[in-house]
Every structure is written in structure tokens, then in C-alpha cells.
């Protein structure tokens, strides 16, 4: 993940200040606009996500308290020993929020990655070879899109049973059609462009044209969509946790932590639910910012 984001960050900057004019510097200045919020947001997003990754890794080696350590002081306010307070079992909310990062991050990255890879391959095939596949696949996708995503995920996860792997596969499966559709549209739109014709002319095999020449040109919009979709997947993961469907009870996960603190809200112990929610906000928010940044970079219509 790091190399792609780093290189993307490197190229995002000039385009951000350049606008769609051929001469970036002076023209941009005469319009007297501050640098677009997208470039800044993109950096914030990348930074925050890196932070989450670091926290997730650290949580394997060190947390201030045992995240599953039941029996400490119950419902302590946020403060010196317990940064985020403790829940009604006496577990440290801060440690649990740290550990939960692993689960939420891993589920999001794995299922989005799976959907991206599979969807892109199938979509490229569909877009390049067309006809035979297209009709059937597109109807099937429209059918899937008729299901509100969370409900469909709820239905399948509760059917196949709880477990991290199950959630990953189900969320990937639910997201797959969107990637397929996007990759297909991207590849189809460039199929007859000159560089593709040229590649065919010099004798490249069709799969090579599709995957080595057309696909790399489509990867930008795909990545931009991936980031936005990842935010959505993270939200659904948390929602499943909140509803108590996804993971085994007791596993620290932001959504289920919020559900655990729900009763406390009414009696005034806001912190048990509050901090995991902020953790979700940070992750989904930075993914949206990342998606916006990538979108500005790769979508010529939005680049200005």
C-alpha cells in the first residue's frame, strides 16, 4: 500500500495547483485562489491512515492496559490512568480502541482489496471481450445493486455465521459488482484508442493489450473509487459490529464497542461509545479525503 500512496501523493501536488490550463504557475496565481482543499485533504487522509496502520501494529506489542482485562475499575471517567475511561466491565476503552483498529482496518483493507482485484480482472475481461459476457453480467449486477448493501451483507453474514473471514468474503462479494462495472466501463471507453490499436498492431496478444495497456490507464479512477468504497466498507463493518452480527461477542471492534456503551449514554457515561465513534470518523473521513484527492487527480472533469 505504501508505495502506491506515496507515488500518488507525489504527483497529486502539481496537478492540484496547476488546474486544467497548460501553464500552471502564473495562471493559477492570477485567479487568486488558495490551493484546492483536495490536495490538503489528500495529505491529511494519507497521514491519518498511516497513523491508523501504526496504531494497529503497535497494538500487537503494547497497549496501556489489557484490552480484555475484565475486572478493573468500572466506568471510570476519561482521565489520567485511563485515557478514554473504562467500560462497565472495567475494560480500558483506550486499549480496546487501539486493538479494534486491527480488526476494522484488516477487514476493510482485505475485503476491498479482494473486490478490487477480482472485480478489475472480471471487468477488464468483460470490457475488452465484450458482447458474450456483457448482457448477462450487467443484468446480474443491476440485480445485486437493487439490494441495499448493508441489508444484503446482514442477510448473508447472519446466514453464514460470524467470523472475520466470513465478513471479509461477504463484503468483498457485495462490493464486487461496482468494481466490475467501473473497470468494464473504463476499459471499454479506451478499447479503440490509438495506443490500444498500436499495441495490437505490433502483435500483442489480446490479453496483453487488455491487462498491460488498457488496464493501467484505468487504474486511477479505480483507485479513487476504491478509497471511497473502503470508507463505506468500514462503516458497514462497524454497523455489523453494532448490530452484533459480524464478530464473536467480546472481540474489540469499534461498532460493537459503541453498542456496549449504548446503555451508558442514557445514564451519562458517554465515553464508552464516544471514542470508538471518533476512531471510525477518523478512518472513514480520511478514506473519503483520499478518494477525493485521487478523484481530483485522475478525473479530468474534476481537475481544476
Amino acid at each position: 500500500m505504501t508505495p502506491t500512496t506515496r507515488s500518488a501523493a507525489g504527483v497529486a501536488e502539481p496537478s492540484g495547483s496547476g488546474g486544467d490550463t497548460a501553464t500552471p504557475g502564473p495562471v493559477a496565481k492570477t485567479r487568486r485562489r488558495p490551493p484546492p482543499a483536495g490536495a490538503l485533504g489528500f495529505r491529511i487522509g494519507v497521514g491519518l491512515l498511516a497513523g491508523y496502520l501504526v496504531v494497529a501494529i503497535i497494538s500487537y506489542f503494547w497497549t496501556p492496559f489489557d484490552p480484555l482485562g475484565v475486572g478493573g475499575d468500572v466506568l471510570v471517567k476519561p482521565g489520567t490512568p485511563y485515557l478514554f475511561g473504562t467500560d462497565r466491565l472495567g475494560e480500558d476503552v483506550f486499549s480496546r480502541t487501539m486493538v479494534a483498529t486491527r480488526y476494522d482496518l484488516a477487514i476493510t483493507v482485505a475485503s476491498v482489496g479482494l473486490a478490487l482485484v477480482l472485480g478489475t480482472i472480471l471487468g477488464t475481461i468483460g470490457g475488452y471481450y465484450g458482447k458474450f459476457w456483457d448482457g448477462a453480467i450487467m443484468r446480474a449486477i443491476e440485480t445485486f445493486n437493487a439490494f441495499p448493501t448493508l441489508l444484503f451483507a446482514m442477510l448473508i453474514v447472519s446466514a453464514v455465521g460470524p467470523g472475520i473471514l466470513n465478513i471479509i468474503v461477504v463484503l468483498a462479494f457485495v462490493g464486487l459488482p461496482s468494481y466490475l462495472r467501473l473497470a468494464r466501463a473504463e476499459v471499454m471507453s479506451r478499447k479503440t484508442w490509438q495506443f490500444a490499436e498500436a499495441a495490437r498492431m505490433v502483435g500483442c496478444r489480446s490479453w496483453r493489450v487488455a491487462f498491460r495497456h488498457l488496464l493501467p490507464n484505468s487504474i486511477g479512477p479505480l483507485l479513487a473509487f476504491t478509497a471511497v468504497n473502503a470508507a463505506w466498507v468500514a462503516l458497514i463493518t462497524a454497523s455489523l459490529g453494532y448490530l452484533g452480527i459480524g464478530l464473536q461477542p467480546g472481540v474489540p471492534e469499534w461498532g460493537s464497542m459503541i453498542a456496549n456503551g449504548q446503555d451508558g449514554i442514557i445514564t451519562g457515561q458517554w465515553w464508552v461509545s464516544f471514542f470508538p465513534g471518533m476512531a471510525i470518523l477518523g478512518m472513514t473521513g480520511s478514506l473519503y479525503l483520499l478518494g477525493d484527492g485521487l478523484g481530483d487527480r485522475f478525473d479530468p472533469r474534476r481537475r481544476r
Binding site: A146, F147, L155, G255, Q262, I266, W270, I280
Partner: protein, 330 residues
């Protein structure tokens, strides 16, 4: 246009097929839900036969389809009643909440998007972007809990999560099922006010989620419109600014309309979460209860219901497209 209507048929068939197979193939043997644990093989077989589970899967599928076409969604294992009538009874609560939330999302989201586009890259734009990002990035259930904490627990100015009416307040005679309408029909204004107060927090919670995408799409589309040639012409002709913004907005509304159609799908998912937070007796809570009790007939019925409504909403959006944009009428 007619093909658009026809398109519903294969999609609806696909939706039914998927719900059936997800329910039947993954969910294991529903016999265990009906037969007592100590039942012997003969009793089990009898239960299986009474549920139609002894027939081949393909036969079961056709029976299921036949029942569906007769409007029979099966019997809920938990309530012991038809899923169809359960859903019908709970639908008004969700529709009332969803309609108000969507209205809030539109009425607040579109002006915010317009303001952001007009004041692009200045502080109002920045505020709107952060605010609408929050609507998309925050889980609805968390927003609901925090609103409860602020307005109910800390300040005590709004009622708590006890459903559509305060405890021990009898509802109006049911006419439409919408409490806001029914209480007015009964001429009971204080009841209307009580129902409205119960609605404020849930609809704000759900509406905030709907607002984010609507405001963002409005902004993006409005920015495009403001940079177009016809707006430049209008400026050159010396029209006043509100007039120009109105011209631009009318052209910018089409993508917003699409987004509103998509938002309806979100509202169904969001309703499950928001109803769980506020003890709202709607279909979302029903679905959640169905999941927790592995009540697959109820869950299938709900998902099917949601999917069909979703498709219908898309169709309505398409029709509105035709009405608004003369170019699509060709």
C-alpha cells in the same frame, strides 16, 4: 421508456431468486426452529414435510415463487404471523421517519451545496465540505447516540428513545398509520406535537446521513454549472446573481436527483441502525429482530421488500428525469 418498465421484471425475479437461495442454502435446517430439541426422527420428518422441506430444492423454489406472486411472504417464526402483514403494520413508522429524514436531507443539503459552490474555496465552502463529510463518514447509530446524550441526557429538551410516542400515551385511531397525519385527522394537536417531538432526533440522525452525499453532489454539479458557457453569457448580459444561481441550479439538479434516488437505498440501511438506537417500531427493527432470532422468512421478506422499493425508487427517478430534462425525451 417502456423498456425501462420491463427491466423491473428480470431484476425482481433475480432479487427473489437471490433471497431464496441465500435464505435456504446458507441458513441450515429450519426444522430445528420448529421441532423441539428432543424430537425423534419421525417427528422431524413430519415437521420437514409440513414445511415443504422434503421436496427437492427446485420444487421448493417454485413453491416460494408461487407464494410470492400470491403476495404470501411466508410466516414469521418469531411473531407467528404472516411476514407480509407484519411488514405492512410496521411500514408507516419507517416511512414516516424516512420521508422526514429524506426531506431534511434535501431541504438542507441542496442549499448547503449551492452555498459551497458559489463560495468555492472560501470558508463557507470549507465548512460545508467538513459538515457533509461528517454525514458520510459517521456511523448513523453513533450520531444518534451522541444526539441522545446531548438533547435528552445533558440538556433534557427532547424526549428519550422510547419509540413513536411517549410511554403511556395512546395513539390516534389508525387511518394512514402516519402518526403526524392521524393525530391531525383526529384533531388532537397536543398528540401531534408529542409525536413530532419523538420524531426530531431519529429523523435528524437519519437525515444527516442523507444530507452528506446530497450536499456534495449538489456542490460538484453546481461548480460545473457555474463554469459553463451559458452562465458566462448570463453574467455578461448583466443578470443579477440570484437569477444566475437559479439558472445554474436548474441545470445542476439532474445528478442531484440521481443521488437522491441512491439515498433512498441508504435510508433503508440507515433505518435498521437508527431504529435500533431509538427503539423505533419500524421495519428496520423488525429486520434486526429477525436476524437475532434467525427468522429467515421475516428477513427474506424484508430484504425483498426493500429491494423492490429500491427498484421502484430508481424508476421514479428515471421518470422525474424525463420530466425535468427535455434532452432525455428524444
Amino acid at each position: 421508456m417502456f423498456t425501462r418498465l420491463l427491466w423491473i421484471v428480470p431484476v425482481a425475479a433475480g432479487v427473489m431468486t437471490i433471497t431464496f437461495f441465500v435464505g435456504r442454502v446458507f441458513s441450515g435446517d429450519p426444522t430445528n426452529l420448529y421441532a423441539p430439541p428432543q424430537a425423534d426422527a419421525a417427528l422431524r420428518a413430519k415437521v420437514r414435510a409440513s414445511l415443504g422441506l422434503d421436496k427437492p430444492l427446485i420444487n421448493q423454489y417454485f413453491t416460494y415463487l408461487k407464494d410470492l406472486l400470491h403476495g404470501n411472504l411466508g410466516t414469521s417464526f418469531t411473531t407467528g404471523r404472516g411476514v407480509g402483514s407484519d411488514l405492512l403494520e410496521r411500514m408507516p413508522a419507517t416511512l414516516e421517519l424516512g420521508t422526514i429524514a429524506l426531506a431534511l436531507g434535501i431541504v438542507i443539503g441542496i442549499p448547503l451545496g449551492v452555498v459551497a459552490a458559489v463560495k468555492r474555496d472560501r470558508w463557507p465552502d470549507f465548512m460545508v465540505r467538513v459538515f457533509s463529510l461528517g454525514g458520510m463518514a459517521l456511523p448513523a447509530f453513533w450520531v444518534g447516540l451522541i444526539l441522545l446524550w446531548l438533547f435528552f441526557v445533558s440538556w433534557g429538551i427532547l424526549p428519550g428513545p422510547v419509540g413513536r410516542l411517549p410511554v403511556n400515551v395512546p395513539g390516534p385511531p389508525t387511518v394512514t398509520g402516519f402518526l403526524l397525519v392521524d393525530s391531525l385527522l383526529a384533531g388532537n394537536l397536543s398528540l401531534w406535537w408529542q409525536a413530532a417531538r419523538q420524531l426530531i432526533l431519529p429523523s435528524l440522525t437519519l437525515g444527516y446521513g442523507a444530507l452528506g452525499p446530497i450536499a456534495r453532489v449538489t456542490r460538484a454539479s453546481m461548480v460545473d454549472a457555474l463554469e459553463s458557457e451559458y452562465v458566462r453569457t448570463a453574467v455578461a448580459m448583466g443578470h443579477r446573481r440570484p437569477t444566475i444561481w437559479w439558472y445554474a441550479l436548474r441545470n445542476a439538479l439532474l445528478p442531484v436527483l440521481t443521488m437522491i434516488g441512491t439515498t433512498v437505498g441508504y435510508l433503508f440501511s440507515g433505518a435498521v441502525l437508527v431504529e435500533a438506537v431509538f427503539g423505533w417500531p419500524g421495519v428496520g427493527a423488525y429486520a434486526l429482530q429477525a436476524i437475532q432470532n434467525s427468522d429467515f422468512a421475516a428477513l427474506q421478506g424484508f430484504v425483498l421488500y426493500a429491494a423492490v422499493l429500491f427498484v421502484v425508487c430508481y424508476l421514479i427517478v428515471d421518470l422525474l428525469y424525463l420530466a425535468i430534462d427535455p434532452r432525455t425525451r428524444a
